[in-house]
Symmetry: C2
Subunit: 133 residues, 2 copies
């Protein structure tokens, strides 16, 4: 499916780990909201750069995960940044709808407060609507 080639300038800067992956943080480009962390392999990163639509590697499903392919909640890439040692990417994105599979805007909706995890964000979209089950 994907024939995109990873640009040499990125390939040289990113030492993919023993599983061939690199961590990728998605941050909403204008608000600064940290949406999620997921993983990319060479192929998903190449596709993301080629298409401008964020594609991860799903570790649980062991296949390309075109963000929003099922749910419609896509991430448009605004800018890719690489950290000092190349083992983490920061994706500045424009998130359509919600980033989290629970239907919340971002995945970090549990805060440690007064000795317990408190849910601090509401479900904005019913997951049944997102995934059709």
């Amino acid at each position: 499916m994907s024939a995109a080639i990873l640009p040499a300038g990125i390939a040289e800067a990113v030492p993919f780990d023993r599983d061939g992956l690199v961590a990728a943080i998605a941050q909403q480009h204008d608000s600064g909201e940290v949406l999620m962390l997921a993983w990319m392999n060479r192929e998903s990163l190449a596709e993301t750069l080629a298409t401008g639509e964020v594609c991860y590697w799903s570790r649980s499903r062991q296949r390309l995960w075109r963000k929003g392919e099922t749910s419609g909640q896509r991430q448009r890439l605004v800018e890719l940044r690489v950290d000092c040692d190349g083992d983490t990417l920061l994706l500045l994105v424009d998130q359509s709808g919600v980033a989290c599979h629970t239907g919340r805007r971002n995945c970090f909706f549990r805060a440690w407060r007064e000795g317990r995890l408190e849910t601090i964000a509401e479900v904005l979209v019913d997951p049944k609507t997102l995934y059709g089950f």
Copy 2:
């Protein structure tokens, strides 16, 4: 050294990976700037919660990494958040000085622009000053 115990409510929510680690994103609590990504084990997370000063696990040195212990560039924990599946933490912190060992404010100082990685942030503190060599 560290006798802190990980609270049960966190221990239950975080499935540490095969190396006993969990990814931790540090974000400046007020500006939203993503500073860095590092890793925590049970001990470093327990110490972070007990002291309010961020402590990571250094994978390269295989020991606790009390952020700023050498450089003085500490991270005070403002709030800990846990993602939907518990495999990533978001640390809202107050960063003293610079987060990156290169002397830049954050580690994501390279942006992919027009087919090359462009350095987009200045060195604010000479690393020689930070580390004394």
